[in-house]
């Protein structure tokens, strides 16, 4: 028998990445409700709410809304998309079929993570381009703002991805996933300073949203894209970047722990 070398982990991960990208880009649901949704909302809400001087800071609602839409785009592409697609894949035995092949589980997850990263980079780049064209948002001006953007993006997307995988295991039925998650995402968006300026919410709603990561992710993005004088108009009177990092990190760790503990290749009724 000729001894042949097994395919490397990287080649399998790269191949899974290609499969994942095909599955995402060829799915009408994913492209409309995950990829283009934030752009559609950015154009619509930016046009509807045309306040152009929030709290006398010279910041328009469109600019404020861009940071929120970047944050919710990351929530869509990591959390919502993965939670729905993985739970459907589990319901339809797709995961069982993958598990039956020599593919290492880590290659499966890295393929997914790379796909989320790639889609999110393109999505966020398009949102920023729209913000620059429609709402006169300027790109981060200095290395410090770029640095903030990179860590908020990476930490936020990691958190979103981990919770997508974790939630997929908590949902029992793939068919119901979309119906269950859409209201969750909407409530988070309405309370976390995405569709409305955060400080205009009742205090108790602000406290509710402070528990969840979307509020902190949007705030981190505002620190990147809004001028420094807006910091005083935030709820705490500052960007609170250390707290942004802490909250996202805590949620990331919790998401990773739940993912690792609950992930399964088979349906619950299949054992």
């Amino acid at each position: 028998m000729t001894a042949r070398t097994a395919p490397s982990w990287w080649s399998m991960t790269a191949d899974r990445f290609v499969v994942e990208v095909k599955e995402f880009t060829r799915s009408r649901e994913q492209m409309i409700f995950i990829f283009f949704f934030p752009m559609i909302f950015l154009a619509l809400f930016g046009a509807i709410f045309n306040t152009d001087d929030l709290y006398g800071t010279g910041v328009s609602f469109g600019q404020y809304f861009l940071a929120g839409m970047i944050a919710s785009g990351m929530l869509n592409t990591g959390f919502q998309s993965l939670a729905i697609s993985i739970s459907i894949d589990r319901s339809e035995d797709v995961l069982k079929r993958i598990h039956a092949t020599p593919l290492p589980p880590t290659a499966y997850f890295f393929g997914k993570i790379l796909q989320v990263l790639a889609v999110s980079v393109v999505q966020v780049a398009l949102l920023i381009a729209m913000g620059a064209l429609l709402f006169d948002v300027s790109l981060p001006a200095d290395a410090w703002h770029w640095f903030t953007f990179v860590w908020v993006f990476v930490l936020g997307l990691a958190c979103s991805t981990a919770w997508g995988i974790a939630t997929s295991s908590l949902l029992r039925n793939g068919k119901a996933a979309s119906a269950i998650l859409t209201p969750v995402v909407l409530v988070l968006q309405f309370t976390s300073g995405v569709f409305f300026v955060f400080t205009e919410l009742p205090t108790w709603l602000q406290h509710f949203a402070e528990v969840f990561p979307l509020k902190w992710l949007a705030q981190g993005m505002r620190a990147v894209f809004l001028p420094e004088q807006f910091a005083a108009a935030e709820a705490a009177g500052s960007w609170q970047l250390p707290l942004v990092a802490l909250m996202l990190a805590v949620w990331l760790v919790a998401g990773l722990v739940i993912s690792a503990r609950t992930f399964r290749w088979l349906r619950l009724d299949d054992r």
Binding site: R4, D15, T101, L103, R271
Partner: protein, 284 residues
């Protein structure tokens, strides 16, 4: 020394107090096509899914290719191909893409075009599963099961829902793909399928093996042959374990042809129903 690919002893699996598999012993040799035959709920799929490494067991020893499937490793997965009971779901990938991506996972995969041709999907290679008929989807499932050149293939009820013509074609496909000595474990509730494909058949009823033999051996389990003839204008029937002796006697009594002579060996189906019925009802 035996070259067992699958070795099972004392396998037990219960669901909610009901024993789906109840003390199963089984050995499958290399190169053998083995059929687990039984009615729905007999424990066939539970057994196969334990051997595939998907399910845990309550008791018993299981070795598949020398490994306990609960400890399935990547290299073990390379050597095992499987066709699940459920048909491949909707996908955005075409048949060719699905196979091409599968080849990325194996050391020595089959050629994609040759495999498509072998399962008769060359014309449909750019179709997605939802654009294929049920039978074509099952062919794609077979292609995916063999793409990595496995040593052992599990086929879990591969032709359920097929019409007789499609089933015959599918049998031909399985035979051509396993002609190279691949070991096959097939589950089916179709007797003719087991009879046609298998070297040995294990009949499973209520989680226990009630018979284990070659198709011919199972037939010989029947009590004997039924000899029918016409004598003095009346039809006569005799069931005997020694039909040849009876025939000699008949030949001696007749000068020429024996009118209405018929010697019938019980069909495998008679044996099968007898075994299942005996176990289920305890009467027959």
């Amino acid at each position: 020394m035996s070259d067992a690919v699958v070795q099972v002893s004392g396998l037990v699996k219960s669901y909610g107090g009901v024993r789906a598999v109840d003390g199963l012993d089984l050995t499958i040799e290399r190169g053998e096509v083995f059929a687990l035959l039984g009615p729905n709920g007999a424990g066939k799929s539970t057994t196969v899914e334990i051997l595939e490494g998907f399910r845990t067991r309550d008791a018993g020893d299981v070795s598949v290719l020398g490994v306990d499937p609960v400890m399935a490793t990547r290299s073990w997965r390379e050597r095992v191909g499987l066709m699940l009971q459920s048909t491949s779901p909707r996908s955005v990938l075409t048949a060719r893409e699905a196979l091409s991506h599968a080849t990325a996972l194996y050391s020595d995969p089959r050629d994609v075009d040759e495999t498509l041709a072998a399962v008769g999907l060359t014309e449909k290679s750019d179709a997605k599963p939802q654009e294929l008929s049920g039978g074509q989807r099952r062919r794609l499932d077979v292609a995916l099961a063999v793409i990595g050149r496995p040593e052992l293939i599990f086929l879990d009820e591969p032709t359920t829902g097929f019409d007789p013509e499609a089933r015959r074609q599918f049998w031909g496909l399985i035979q051509s793909l396993t002609a190279d000595g691949t070991t096959v474990l097939l589950t089916t509730h179709y007797l003719d399928e087991a009879d046609h494909l298998a070297d040995r058949i294990g009949i499973l009823s209520a989680g226990r093996l009630v018979a284990l033999d070659s198709p011919a051996g199972l037939r010989s389990l029947a009590s004997g042959a039924r000899v029918t003839w016409t004598e003095d204008g009346t039809a006569r029937t005799e069931t005997t374990a020694a039909p040849t002796a009876l025939l000699r006697d008949l030949i001696a009594r007749h000068d020429g042809e024996i009118p209405g002579l018929e010697v019938v060996h019980p069909s495998l189906e008679d044996v099968y129903l007898d075994l299942i019925g005996a176990d289920a009802g305890g009467a027959a």
